[in-house]
Point group: C2
DNA sequence: GAGTGTCGCTGAAGCGCTTCAGAACGTCCA
DNA sequence: TGGACGTTCTGAAGCGCTTCAGCGACACTC
């Protein structure tokens, strides 16, 4: 069953009796031919069932592909359930989408980031990396291909554009807020330090050897202000995991009076855990988050948290990506600001 | 500033002193040359900084691109906050990722589905469409390009592979459950019938003219069992919108004793609305959802809902996509099963 | 009426790769 | 010894497009 061969530029050119260049121009540079001829070309294309220049061939000839690659540190499912990531991605998408670009998603497996083979085959001419572990093999694969890259929340890589957040500073802000309220006994809840599925209390060695920069920085920010405190690591930024972890932390004696969480998502789990134990936030336990996702404001009680401009981060990343796409230089890192948003989940500790 | 031209196959071939075909074989058909030579080629490539065959050129030559396109009915932001979509996408991704394929996301604008231009330029050789409106222009664009397509939750398109769910049957199951519990006064909460941002009560005409098949079917399922009932349409499947809508419905007199929601996400908003009014689920109001996303089980109270196997749906879509990629025929539609999961959000109505 | 533009179109090179039909050179068996 | 076969490598065609120099032809200008 040989289906009719797909029409190409040549097919159309032959049908109209013009050169191939002219048909190409009809699609790409309407000013290069008379509009009458252009109409004839387009009409012929329509009757022949020609849907326009083949994207792959066009990419080869023009040497760019109108696609932005996105390197994810986790599986797609985890990514999609992470509101912070979703918002960043949305900011990014809203920027690049307006320019007829597609997003090529390269999800990470368990090993922290996409497989290098996936990167090697992906048709994108700029790549955005987001919260990968420092040693993700995909980063090397991107470098090897010589693709321009913008890294968000990521280790400093030479030659890349960057969007940075002062995670440590933000975390310190949160810790100092609690200190100012008179808290002295803390528990810390965090998402992974390494992509190995670990759950439980974190040793100093593990903390120091963490490969997720964001995690390390937030924890460092917390601990540098409050001194030593038990840190519970969840294997993902999921509230159910945090609920379990928070119960562990609250079960220690003396019981912490404040829980510092590496993300809002974890803080939501902590709020639930406090309720589970018949305690009240913030009377018995203060809880503080990080990110300020939309749900933070609507939590019960509304969550005190460190705000980072997530949409903006994504948008900035998108703009940088577009700039690199145009052959621009990476330029200086863009730093976005963080600030503390005081709401109802933290209170004075008598 | 002319950066050194990127090495190509020829560069490597020249360096090693072999033909271009041999270098190509070193990457693609190791059995076609001695392993000693292969080693030399690969070593030369490494020192030259050659990262392997260019994906675009390779795609042009082989006429396939190892990418699966995904047509989204909504903007990326909405997509990422939709747990059901996320789970489907994850199932899909886990299937195609194992085969070194990437996912090319084509987000929809406000108009219901991606712009045709985006589709025309996307480098994918199979496309998965998910919950687009019946009349999405992107569908026509895919057809025009002659790309194979698998449609999920979608109108029947000739020549496409399909994954289907009995939405109407599932909804009827839910409605009959409530009827069996003695309920007689209902309210229905739904996500959009058309991609026009409408919020508020739904007229019969609007219902009949809805362009989202899933919405239409679920509502039809509900209403065919319970008879007439007020239907509130939210402009997205977001719990905050549902919370508002549910408050409206519960404000009517006589007050409904049961709320049927087109998705779990909407049901979560409904639960909140009931609480807002100082009422209790399920004593005062029963609430039922659709999808059975993971959070349904952990809701307060745990949500009675119609379960559809979301991950499985995505996986099936992925398998179909891979089959089409291999030149396979679409075959018969795959139907996945739905069933009622009774939990704590529904109860007898005295 | 020679010089200068502009407009509309074409020819041909080239983007970086795959692939297929051989060529060259053993090896093996009869 | 010679033919059949394998193995290893190569030459060249071709994937479908963009783009750039250039060519007529026609319209202006002084």
């Amino acid at each position: 069953m040989d289906r009719p061969r797909k029409p190409t530029l040549d097919t159309v050119a032959a049908a109209v009796g013009v050169s191939r260049a002219t048909v190409s121009n009809a699609y790409n540079r309407p000013d290069q031919l008379s509009s009458a001829l252009r109409e004839r070309v387009l009409a012929a294309a329509a009757t022949l069932g020609y849907a326009g220049p083949d994207p792959v061939a066009r990419s080869l000839a023009t040497r760019h592909s109108a696609a932005v690659g996105f390197l994810l540190g986790q599986q797609l499912s985890a990514s999609f359930s992470d509101p912070a990531l979703s918002i960043v991605l949305d900011g990014l998408a809203s920027t690049v989408d307006g320019h007829d670009h597609c997003l090529v998603l390269m999800p990470g497996g368990d090993r922290g980031g996409p497989r290098p083979e996936t990167v090697a085959r992906a048709q994108a001419d700029v790549v955005v990396a987001y919260s990968l572990p420092d040693d993700a093999p995909a980063l090397e694969a991107v470098r090897a291909r010589g693709l321009p890259m913008v890294v968000v929340d990521q280790p400093v890589l030479p030659g890349t554009a960057r969007v940075e957040v002062d995670d440590a500073g933000g975390a310190r802000l949160a810790a100092e807020h609690l200190l100012g309220l008179g808290h002295t006994r803390f528990g810390v809840l965090t998402f992974p330090l390494r992509p190995d599925g670990h759950t439980g209390l974190v040793s100093a060695a593990r903390l120091a050897g963490g490969t997720f920069r964001v995690t390390r920085d937030r924890l460092t920010g917390y601990l540098s202000a409050i001194g030593d405190a038990p840190v519970w690591e969840c294997s993902g930024s999921r509230r159910e995991l945090a609920r379990t972890g928070a119960r562990e932390l609250l079960g220690r004696s003396p019981r912490p009076t404040a829980l510092l969480c590496a993300s809002d998502e974890l803080a939501f789990g902590a709020l639930q855990a406090v309720r589970d134990l018949g305690l009240t936030v913030p009377r018995d336990v203060s809880v503080i988050g990080f990110d300020d996702v939309p749900a933070a404001e609507h939590a019960d009680p509304p969550l005190t948290t460190v705000r980072q401009p997530l949409t903006d981060k994504g948008r900035r990343a998108g703009e940088l990506a577009l700039r690199l796409l145009d052959g621009g230089r990476p330029g200086d890192p863009i730093r976005v600001a963080v600030n503390l948003v005081e709401r109802g989940s933290t209170a004075l500790q008598e």
